[in-house]
Amino acid sequence: MGGIGALFAMTPFISSWFPSSKAKAAGSPIKVDLSELEPGQQVTVEWRGKPVWIVRRTTEMLDHLSTNENQLRDPDSLVPQQPFYAKNRYRSINPEYLILIGICTHLGCLPKYMPDENTLDSDWPGGFYCPCHGSTFDLSGRVFKGVPAPINLEVPPYRFMSERVVIIGEEGVTQ
């Protein structure tokens, strides 16, 4: 009986550690206007204090995605790191726009956007490179083999309000 009492007495101490209502409220969805984003460009917006990348991919970039799939750990996005509507090669609703949480799945660092080929080393296909422990991801945020990061970058829930306006943090019924 005493043990049960002690367990209940711990409630305020444990419960107070969870994100407060204020912190939860700060995690509400955000609206981003994409009309000024040029092909090949990346913008970073903040959602729930996390950096969210929006990359407008060119057609060459999209065509290139299929060529390196044998070097990827999870090319088919089998690990649930994305909403069901982004479980495809482009990991997005509209292949042109890649939306990712820009936090390395190894230990939470911020990978760098390195879209140009051969910039990291001679056979770099373009993608994201994490400077902390050298993890690499392709231009769909899919992790390469032989790096510390275990899984693909996370795709946040989002929906398109119109062709050029996206809401991040809210599921849509657009499918």
Binding site: I14, W17, F18, P19, S20, A23, G27, T44, E46, R48, G49, K50, P51, T105, H106, L107, G108, C109, L110, P131, C132, H133, G134, G146, V147, P148, A149, P150
Partner: protein
């Protein structure tokens, strides 16, 4: 005076405690250099408590103001720079002293029967000290503080099912934030120091129960004089208290040389990157752990799998607790152990230092390879210990501590 003492002693075990812990605590007569560090650790701890208390008076534990309040301490508070440098240098030196203190234990077999509990409490203290340092490291709220905390708290996310929830529970938010800073501050200034003091008390009381080991690893309690005191022992007070004060003087020269001339130690004790305020949206180019955690951090980053990396790193510390039972040698001191033990401890020490170095530099394929070999040696030292310590040829330990 003596009647006051009598009055007190009737109500509190004052004289008997003093006798038990100092004037009639018999310590082997042959303690060497390595035995200064226990006392020095206590001294640096006092330094940390006093300077820490004073820093608390000027520091503001909030995400908006923490970084600026550290600058305020450094620029505007009278002697604030000295208080902070005493605290930050003390933090590094407490680990220097801890690692030497621990090495002494390995060298002279101070963990062997009957001192297992002293060793366990000491290793527990090392873990507490690492936690204390980790909490304290977030407080300046610089880039390295922030991202160090981000990396370490995200280690919990590898735990299946509950990992994500656990991580945000520890942080109090979806990332390291003001809530995290405030709880780390509370633990750093109140929670962990209290635990540290309690464990130090236990460590010392259990040491008094079994007595100090010595470089020969000979049990001095086996040969007693007519009064029942060890023939090869000297009372802790005044013999070792005066000796320790000589050691303290030398230590203070080193300590203040660092505080006054190299408090940043070339970016080793205080990192350059930490002079930039925390920014959740920009990771530093190169996240380096502070030097005393570097050996363990290296193990984390050379394992190409998150979960195994975390397990390896945790095991590297946890395995220390098992040494009293891994060492099967009938002799304590390295002076009488066989060749294998000597080689093993040497390789282990070199690996530990190399791992520390590799944790603070950029990783390259060659370094990755060296780091993996060092990690393997680190664990082999412990895992193979029951074999090489049991079957190797050891020398005969003399009955008494001989004068050279």
């Amino acid at each position: 005076m003596s009647s006051l003492l009598q009055w007190l002693d009737d109500r509190f075990p004052l004289v008997s405690t003093w006798k038990k812990h100092a004037s009639e605590y018999y310590v082997p007569k042959n303690l060497n250099f390595f035995y200064y560090f226990g006392f020095l650790l206590l001294f640096v701890l006092c330094n940390q408590l006093i300077t820490g208390l004073w820093l608390t008076m000027f520091y503001t534990p909030s995400a908006d103001r923490a970084f600026d309040s550290v600058q305020y301490i450094m620029r505007d508070v009278n002697f604030g720079w000295l208080l902070r440098y005493l605290h930050s240098t003390g933090a590094s030196l407490i680990f220097v002293a801890s690692y030497i203190h621990l090495f002494k234990g390995l060298l002279y077999g101070s963990y062997q029967k009957p001192r297992e509990l002293v060793w366990l409490l000491g290793t527990g203290l090392l873990v507490l000290l690492l936690i204390e340092a980790f909490f304290g490291y977030l407080l300046p709220w610089g880039q390295m503080s922030y991202w160090g905390a981000q990396v370490i708290t995200s280690l919990f996310s590898v735990i299946p099912y509950i990992g994500e929830g656990l991580t945000s529970w520890i942080r109090g938010d979806y990332q390291v934030s003001n809530a995290t800073l405030q709880r780390f501050f509370a633990f750093h200034v109140v929670g962990i120091p209290l635990l540290l003091l309690f464990f130090i008390l236990l460590h010392l009381v259990s040491l008094r129960q079994v007595g100090s080991n010595n470089p020969e690893g000979i049990e001095i309690k086996k040969h007693l004089n007519k009064q029942g005191n060890p023939l090869d022992g000297l009372p802790f007070h005044p013999y070792y208290t005066s000796k320790d004060f000589v050691g303290l003087l030398v230590f203070l020269i080193v300590f203040f040389s660092i505080v006054f001339f190299a408090p940043e130690m070339g970016g080793c004790f205080l990192e350059v990157e930490n002079l930039v305020a925390a920014n959740p949206l920009v990771t530093p180019e190169h996240i380096t752990p502070v030097w005393y955690t570097a050996p363990f951090y290296t193990m984390l980053r050379v394992i190409p799998d998150k979960l195994s990396g975390v397990i390896t790193m945790s095991c590297a510390i946890l395995i220390l607790f098992f040494i009293p039972w891994l060492d099967q040698s009938p002799v304590r001191s390295m002076r009488y152990k066989g060749k294998f033990s000597i080689v093993a401890l040497s390789l282990f020490s070199v690996s530990f230092i190399l791992l520390g170095f590799l944790g603070t530099v950029r990783i390259t394929p060659a370094r990755l390879c060296v780091a993996r070999i060092c990690t393997a040696i680190y664990f082999a030292y412990f895992i193979l210990m029951p074999i090489y310590s049991r079957f190797e040829k050891h020398k005969t330990v003399p009955d008494r501590i001989l004068d050279k």
